[in-house]
Symmetry: C2
Subunit: 340 residues, 2 copies
């Protein structure tokens, strides 16, 4: 057991897309757990699009990461010291340890992982935050009904692929949007989407809208929104009356708006004339549903009925590069970093 640890802090705020200089790797003293705390050696950490929002100083749904502070992240690893009665060395635990190879948190903020539930990385993806994000938005806001049509972008990502599989299981027509023919093939062959549109093959919203119209002959009833940009514009032209749009992200806009975005007036007109229900949410407000989610989805993951893909980068020092690539679609499946 070493007496130092490594972590990556926010060195500066990005102007638009994050660059390497926004991050700094540091070596600091390993903390000792105080009463009630647990020290964990991180094995895998999660990279998720929401982290881009935390790098900006502007008001958001969560406090921004301060300059010099460890970047935020969920992570899983092994308990190496514990002053909390529920945790003992050797236990596996999930917590918000950040971009770091060790973490020390109050035991009540950790979740102990049962090795019988499969690889511990699933707690970062299909059975973790992205999984419940997909499940909650699809069910609670999407209000799906068999025979309806659902569209979701980032279709092979951890949220999109879960939304698609939940929707297929419920009897909906499911159309994905993804970047490139390989991801589109994955969406239909691995995740069972009825169709998948390559947004890179469509230069503007009008072209994408025409492709959606073809792929959704009965229109769109649910658009699970995680990207914004031209996909949103194209979708809004194809929504059915009384459609629902759960909004959990807008990755296309995390680095700023574009000149060719749909005018707000046109979007609002679609909301009004199609009687759309648009609702933003952040899953951290709905973790009271976690038990219900795991009880429903866990067995399906165990039985192979719900599939998932992981994209594992090696080494904490490579987290910034993996994160920047993820924001432009460079990964395939849930982005994870193997820390130790």
């Amino acid at each position: 057991m070493t007496d130092t640890m490594r972590r990556i802090v926010l060195a500066s705020r990005p102007e638009a897309a994050p660059v390497a200089e926004n991050f700094r790797l540091e070596e600091v003293a390993l903390p000792e757990p105080e009463d009630g705390e647990v020290l964990v050696r991180v094995e895998y950490m999660s990279l998720d699009p929401y982290m881009r929002g935390r790098m900006s100083a502007s008001k958001s749904y969560a406090t921004p990461v301060e300059i010099g502070e460890t970047m935020t992240a969920g992570a899983v690893g092994e308990v190496i010291a514990s002053r909390h009665p529920d945790f003992a060395p050797g236990d596996k635990a999930l917590g918000m340890f950040g971009w770091a190879d060790h973490g020390c948190l109050p035991g009540k903020q950790l979740r102990k992982l049962d090795p019988a539930h499969g690889p511990i990385t699933t707690a970062l993806g299909v059975l973790g935050m992205p999984g419940i994000t997909a499940w909650y938005g699809f069910n609670a806001i999407g209000q799906p009904k068999p025979g309806e049509t659902l569209v979701v972008a980032a279709a092979t990502g951890p949220v999109g692929s879960m939304v698609g599989q939940l929707a297929k299981a419920k009897g909906l027509r499911v159309v994905g949007i993804a970047g490139g023919p390989e991801k589109c093939r994955l969406a239909t062959e691995t995740f069972g989407f009825d169709a998948c549109i390559d947004h890179r093959a469509h230069g503007d919203a009008a072209s994408l809208s025409a492709a959606l119209k073809e792929a959704c002959p009965d229109g769109i009833d649910i658009y699970y929104e995680n990207v914004g940009g031209k996909v949103l514009a194209a979708v809004l032209e194809n929504m059915n009356p009384f459609g629902r749009i759960p909004v959990c992200g807008m990755i296309a806009w995390y680095n700023g708006a574009s000149d060719d975005d749909m005018p707000l007036a046109a979007a609002w007109r679609s909301v009004l004339t199609n009687f759309l229900h648009v609702e933003g949410f952040i899953i951290f407000n709905h973790y009271d549903r976690f038990g219900e989610f795991v009880a429903e989805v866990g067995p399906k993951v165990g039985a192979g009925e719900i599939r998932y893909l992981e994209d594992v980068a090696e080494g904490l020092e490579n987290a910034p590069a993996a994160f920047m690539a993820m924001l432009t679609g460079g990964n395939t499946g849930k982005q994870i970093v193997k820390v130790s």
Copy 2:
């Protein structure tokens, strides 16, 4: 009884704001009621912002008025001939008779008015379509709770003034937005708003946003949306987490978007980061609630607990001018035309 009637038809579609040439007054033969139909001599007709939408050919929630077709409108008048068992000459009835001095419709499409419920013009406003629009959006989508803050624009209009009074009665803080100091005075003195902001005194959304921030020290929980434009932009900067936005109109955009509108990305960001529930609706989908609405609100109107203002133009031939003035806020209160 004459054997001709007058009507105003759509002569051409407006490019932006409607102009006089878009309308044409015609004299045609008076129809004779067929079996099940009722012929009515119109006394008052309603002018409402939604009619602007019907003048455009683009897809909307309702079929556009065709060129040469009578402009759509609700109206009240006296039955002068009936081939429907529920109606007799001398009865007062409400129906979609259009911009015309007579109308002939199936009796099942009409509602007989009880003179005991006050002046028949109330069936066009406070106890009619605008009234139930306000009541439904406020309650069903707004989900108001005492102590919350509500903002509504066009505060002295038939919808805005009803929303404000319903909200005050329920214990909310109510802030109106209206055009000019006289309307603002009406909002606070006649309709009991806690405050009213003159949007004409604020040249851009930033200035209006600052005024809203001052008038809503606890933020905005419900924005009853009927205008769009810079008001929407200013409101979205002041919404509270879990806010609700019923969308029933966007009069500022009926003639087209503006260059200085808020970018869609910024609006979407507010929806996401504030967990907003935005929902468009048209009241014609919810007329099953009409009985409930009248039972609740009718007695309050009768008792003077809910106040209303009417702005009556004289003569069918003046309907186009009154309509064009209404779209730019030239009226005060429910716009009605006295037809005969």
